[in-house]
């Protein structure tokens, strides 16, 4: 990470005696990109391969039927599913996750997760905050937007932030840092279409001849930054690397089948295409993927819905973890699965469960965390946290995995207020 030495904000990590402020805090102007690139080169830092797949289980998944089962609870609470043992002694998950149960040493379950709000939104999962927080300056940024903002200074070879779930808020970091959404226009920009490679080369050659304005007229070095991005854009388009990553036809059939199953993605397993695409995009250089999977707002037919969805999710997530393991990428790539809240302990008359923001659970894998454990705990009815883990701690852990120091990273919001990324900046200590 590149930093400007400053004095206003003291770090709390005890590692740095001086204070640091992130480059280019909004409205402050700062170091120019080429300076930063040179500085990074001088540091001997390579292109960062740390990445995140942030999976929003939209609607609020039933924590006590997936990751935090309560077989001893009364029948009106415990639900229809039984826990099964995993390859980590004492770590149990739902019986509908047989594939994941064989690789529990590669993930961690966070129980007793608190900090949720009763609001149907990806907001807490993507930003750590509710939609209305800081709304007067645009809201809090999603993790990917922060990565995008900071990766302006790095030698990234691809788009830093891609969303497979449509628009995700960039918050106060502004629209330039919203995710790239590879549908329609976004997708076609990545591939040579009407203009073939020869013609593109002809154009860029011509541009090089005609674009003669002296770059030193721009002391802010925006011109050089644009030159650098243009070069990358030519490389992305002519190599087809990003476009290919989005094309699952280019993937090995057997691998595709591990994600999609025998039905080839008919039904629930269709959502697993995005897991595979996420892996392919990260291989192409993307730093953060936002995606959602399934529908979890099970006020009715909770168990029927889960019986339908969990095996497909089991297949997709286990295939993703296996792929990343096989490629030696799991320590670099963090995966998190979570929803906006948990579900009520008491089963309703419609065999459903209602919203339950008091406690929920999350699933984490990769990124170098200490896997093979359960962290935090809820009470006997999965109604309240006994050993709470705040969702900001999970965000903090994810940022840490990405190499972003939440204790020192600050942005100046449009109202001039310095903002940390999170209020609770302690990572989940058991995981790091």
């Amino acid at each position: 990470m590149l930093t400007i030495t400053g004095d206003r904000y003291q770090s709390c990590d005890g590692l740095q005696r001086r204070d640091f402020m992130k480059i280019g805090a909004l409205g402050l102007g700062g170091l120019a990109l080429p300076d930063l690139l040179r500085l990074e080169a001088k540091d001997g830092k390579k292109t960062n391969s740390k990445a995140l797949i942030n999976v929003h289980l939209s609607g609020g998944p039933s924590h006590q039927d997936m990751w935090d089962l309560k077989p001893e609870a009364p029948s009106e609470v415990r639900g229809e599913f039984r826990p099964i043992p995993t390859n980590v002694p004492g770590m149990e998950i739902c019986e509908l996750f047989p594939k994941l149960a064989k690789m529990a040493d590669k993930f961690a379950i966070i129980r007793g997760m608190v900090g949720s709000v009763d609001e149907h939104s990806y907001s807490t999962a993507m930003t750590g905050y509710r939609e209305s927080d800081l709304k007067s300056v645009g809201g809090h940024p999603s993790i990917g937007s922060v990565v995008s903002r900071l990766s302006m200074a790095s030698a990234d070879r691809a788009l830093p932030y891609v969303s497979l779930m449509g628009h995700v808020t960039p918050g106060y970091l502004g629209p330039v840092h919203q995710p790239y959404v590879p549908d329609g226009g976004g997708k076609s920009n990545l591939r040579l279409g009407k203009i073939n490679a020869d013609r593109l080369k002809g154009r860029t050659d011509l541009l090089n001849e005609l674009d003669t304005m002296r770059r030193d007229v721009d002391a802010n070095h925006q011109m050089e930054a644009m030159d650098s991005f243009t070069q990358k854009a030519v490389e992305v388009v002519t190599s087809g690397r990003m476009g290919d990553a989005l094309d699952l036809e280019k993937e090995d059939r057997a691998t595709v089948k591990r994600y999609l199953g025998d039905s080839n993605g008919q039904g629930r397993s269709g959502g697993n295409r995005n897991f595979l695409m996420a892996r392919r995009l990260i291989e192409a250089g993307v730093r953060c993927i936002a995606m959602s999977w399934g529908g979890w707002d099970t006020h009715e037919n909770n168990f029927k819905t889960l019986r339908d969805q969990l095996p497909a999710l089991d297949m997709g997530v286990s295939a993703l973890i296996q792929d990343l393991t096989d490629r030696g990428m799991l320590d670099d790539v963090s995966i998190v699965l979570w929803g906006e809240f948990g579900r009520s302990p008491k089963i309703t008359n419609n065999a459903g469960r209602d919203h339950w923001p008091r406690v929920s659970a999350a699933f984490m894998a990769g990124g170098g965390i200490r896997a093979g454990q359960v962290v935090g705990a809820s009470d006997r009815q999965a109604a309240d946290a006994v050993t709470p883990v705040h969702l900001h701690q999970i965000h903090s852990t994810l940022y840490r995995n990405l190499g972003i120091d939440v204790e020192t990273t600050q942005f100046i919001d449009p109202s001039g207020r310095p903002q940390y990324l999170l209020d609770n900046r302690n990572p989940v200590k058991e995981l790091v």
Binding site: T5, P175, G202
Partner: protein, 821 residues
């Protein structure tokens, strides 16, 4: 880059080792220890108790009269020996009671100051707010990143930056069953053991064992943790020496900070105060208050904070080059800018050529490129007043109102949160646009917004109250937009970089305390009215009742039947308001120069001073005298030689980013870029819900029209009152879009290329010339013509359209096109 390394080295190297001023031997010296006025040189200072200390500043007068800091270079002695000790950085600490004379020497020159040590053996009780809390601030314990954040850190909390010492005392002494402090064995107090990290501490060893701070804390705990009497003296202000200095680009300066107390006493708090330069590329300051210049000429300020007080030390760093052949003075802008450039010895670039001027001023006033024909005529026009005439023509055009309405619509937050907002937003936009088109005086414009009442359909400015709906948003937006004050911090605590406190904040909030709302005639269009009653507000922490009060002004008694917003508008727009006119002229200055005289443009405070105060004051005065005439302000700016300077740097001014010695290029904003591509190419973009032929700058509100191009190039969402929401950051997604999008390809194949390739009357040379005039308002150079023609000849006749498309594409991708320069 070199500068950065230099900065890193300076920060890493020991302070004293590098004090080698290369100036000639001083003609005389002066030394200050007790006061910050020039006549305080040699004034006796005192040290009270064994934990006291003070920083001296030694100033050398060189032959010729120049003043240079000699603090780190002087040789120090104290006589008689054994009473005080002084180190090579000028820090004096006591050894026993008595009075010593501290003498600084440099060659034959000397200067002395008496220092009296009192109460060395019977130290007075430590005062918690005045002595303990500042330690937490200095060491960063109570910063927003650590224990100062709301909720504290790992169970231990302090008030942010020590603004609430009473609370800090509670947290430390009474919370956690008193386990943090241990008077029986002070050094076993958790506070100290954590501070020096002898027990694990997330923040590390912020405190050094046996340091000044450590010893003072031990003393305080030993004394039984006194808080201090209720009537104890309080800090009423801080002052700094020197307040202003002319410095060499590699110069350094030790500062001295004196805290003034309510009982008339003073204390040298240099080593406890906090320092921050406003431009970190120009200066750095170490923990002891020593400023190091980093090689860039210009103006720089160092903000000094102690308790809830701020002060500022300013430095002018001249380059010292000869400034001859200045361009003609065309308006007061040039008087002030050229005076500054002469003072700095920073020669400006020459005035730009006609083509550059016309393109620049057209983009800045109207957001449009000059039409090719207009540009041709302008170049041929022999009239010496043609630039002034062009400015008039642009100011009278419809495009001027379009462009500036676009600017104001964003910061007035004309945002479509719901579909039902559309009609109200359109009305508000039309109202803004009409005000600009008719050149409504700015004070009237603001008054109508701030006092807006009734239905949006009758009084469109009421839409501002729909979007800016909470009283705190109204306070903060009015402060930021119209006063250039970012007051948000003072909502909860004293502003860290300003004089503003919660009292000031809620005094402003009281103006909005009588804003009533009821259901309007249309859905989501509330009616705003004055709710009869006495206006007032409460400080949420102390419960103190506050009357409506303009920032820095006296509280007002406003009768129940009067809308307090009228009083606010009166206060805002009175000619003596120190913020109102300055903020607007600075905002407009930034529009035309890419950098404010104060920058950011809405962060005007003593600790972030103007790079050219006379310029800011002069423009503001003229603006008030003109009756708040916005077009006249634009005229004043655009007619100046300063605005018309070339962006090409000369040998001296390439790194200038604040003195306006040349024009600073900047990327066209999202809407202007899209419109310019269409204009150059003869194409159009369709926006949902907008009539055909509409341009991007004419989109009336924010969030209602979806355009990938505009989003990716950083069109703001109208979410805040800050212009900084509009981003000109570069990104890969932008480059991909320009390079390879069906959007741009489609424009290329349906635009001017098609027309030119089908035109049999003109030669290729003439056609290329046409494209250059469209893009840049100038003819192609020989080199450019050669390459363009060479490109055309590579293609067969049937592929001529493609060849022209390539040229159009290349031209819109040049920096000369993408930037206003």
């Amino acid at each position: 880059m070199k500068r950065l390394i230099a900065m890193a080295l300076l920060l890493a190297a020991p302070a004293a080792a590098q004090e080698k001023p290369e100036a000639p031997a001083p003609a005389s010296l002066s030394i200050q220890a007790a006061g910050t006025d020039d006549q305080d040189a040699g004034k006796a200072a005192s040290l009270t108790g064994p934990e006291s200390r003070l920083q001296v500043v030694v100033t050398a007068t060189l032959p010729g009269g120049r003043l240079v800091d000699w603090t780190g270079a002087a040789k120090y002695t104290a006589a008689p020996e054994g009473i005080v000790t002084i180190d090579e950085t000028g820090l004096v600490t006591p050894l026993k009671e008595g009075t010593a004379t501290v003498t600084a020497a440099a060659g034959a020159a000397t200067a002395s100051v008496p220092v009296k040590v009192e109460h060395y053996v019977d130290p007075p009780l430590v005062n918690f707010p005045n002595q303990v809390t500042p330690i937490f601030t200095k060491l960063g314990c109570n910063s927003g990143g650590c224990h100062g954040k709301s909720g504290g850190q790992n169970g231990f909390r302090l008030s942010l930056l020590g603004f609430e010492p009473g609370d800090d005392y509670e947290y430390l002494v009474k919370e956690s069953l008193g386990r943090r402090l241990f008077p029986a064995a002070p050094e076993h107090s958790l506070l100290l053991m954590k501070g020096i990290a002898s027990v694990p501490h997330g923040g590390g060893d912020k405190l050094k064992k046996d340091s000044h701070e450590y010893r003072l804390l031990v003393r305080w705990i030993t004394q039984g943790m006194p808080y201090g009497k209720d009537d104890a003296a309080m800090v009423t202000g801080i002052s700094v020496f020197p307040r202003h200095r002319v410095m060499a680009p590699d110069g350094r300066q030790q500062l001295m900070v004196i805290a003034h107390y309510s009982d008339g006493s003073a204390e040298n708090v240099t080593r406890t105060a906090r320092y921050e330069p406003n431009d970190k590329l120009m200066a750095s300051v170490n923990e002891s208050g020593r400023v190091q210049m980093l090689g860039t000429p210009g103006e720089v300020a160092v903000m000094i904070r102690y308790q809830d007080r701020v002060a500022v030390a300013e430095a002018t760093v001249p380059l010292g080059a000869e400034v001859a052949n200045l361009p003609p003075v065309k308006s007061i802008v040039d008087d002030h800018v050229f005076a500054k450039l002469k003072k700095l010895g920073l020669p400006p670039s020459p005035v730009a050529d006609d083509a550059t001027f016309l393109r620049r001023v057209s983009l800045d006033i109207t957001g449009r490129l000059p039409a090719a024909e207009v540009a041709r005529k302008f170049l041929e026009d022999p009239d010496p007043a043609k630039r002034e005439k062009a400015i008039e023509r642009l100011l009278e055009s419809e495009a001027y109102a379009d462009f500036f309405a676009n600017k104001w619509s964003a910061i007035l937050r004309n945002r479509r949160d719901k579909d039902t907002y559309a009609s109200g937003n359109f009305a508000f936009y039309q109202w803004i646009r009409a005000a600009l088109d008719q050149n409504q005086p700015y004070d009237k414009f603001v008054r109508e917004i701030v006092t807006a009442s009734g239905e949006i359909s009758d009084h469109p400015a009421v839409a501002w109250y729909r979007q800016v709906s909470k009283d705190f948003e109204q306070v903060e937006d009015v402060a930021q937009l119209f006063l250039g004050v970012r007051i948000q911090c003072a909502r909860c605590h004293h502003h860290p970089f300003e004089k503003w406190s919660r009292k000031d904040y809620y005094g402003m909030a009281a103006f909005f305390s009588r804003v009533g709302r009821k259901e309007g005639l249309s859905p989501d269009e509330q009616r705003v009215f004055h709710q009869r009653g006495i206006a007032g507000s409460k400080d949420p922490k102390t419960g103190a009742a506050l009357k409506p009060t303009g920032l820095g002004d006296q509280p007002l008694d406003i009768p129940a039947e009067e809308d307090p917003r009228l009083d606010l508008a009166n206060w805002l727009t009175k000619p003596t308001n120190p913020f109102f006119a300055r903020t607007l002229v600075n905002r407009y200055w930034k529009h035309f120069f890419g950098r404010g005289i104060v920058d950011p443009e809405d962060d005007m405070r003593d600790t972030n001073p103007a790079s050219n105060k006379e310029l800011l004051d002069g423009l503001a005065k003229k603006f008030v005298e003109s009756g708040y005439d916005l077009k006249e302000l634009i005229r004043t700016i655009c007619r100046s030689s300063t605005y018309q300077l070339s962006s090409l740097p000369n040998a001296q001014n390439a790194s200038d980013r604040q003195s306006f010695s040349r024009y600073y290029p900047r990327r066209l904003n999202a809407e202007v870029l899209l419109d310019s591509i269409d204009q150059m190419n003869g194409s159009a973009t369709t926006f949902t819900g907008m009539p055909a032929g509409s341009r991007a700058v004419q989109i009336p509100d924010h969030g209602g029209v979806n355009s990938y191009f505009l989003t990716v190039f950083g069109k703001p969402g109208g979410a805040s009152a800050c212009e900084c929401e509009r981003s000109v950051d570069a990104s890969l997604a932008q480059s991909l879009h320009l390079l390879n999008s069906p959007d741009i390809h489609g424009k290329m194949s349906s635009g001017v290329a098609k027309e030119l390739s089908g035109d049999m009357k003109r030669t290729d040379t003439e056609k290329v010339q046409e494209l250059y005039f469209r893009a840049f308002g100038r003819p192609a150079s020989e080199h450019e013509m050669k390459y363009a023609i060479a490109h055309l000849t590579k293609f067969e006749a049937k592929d001529r359209p493609a060849a022209y498309e390539d040229i159009v594409w290349a031209l819109i991708n040049t920096k000369e096109f993408l930037f206003n320069h």
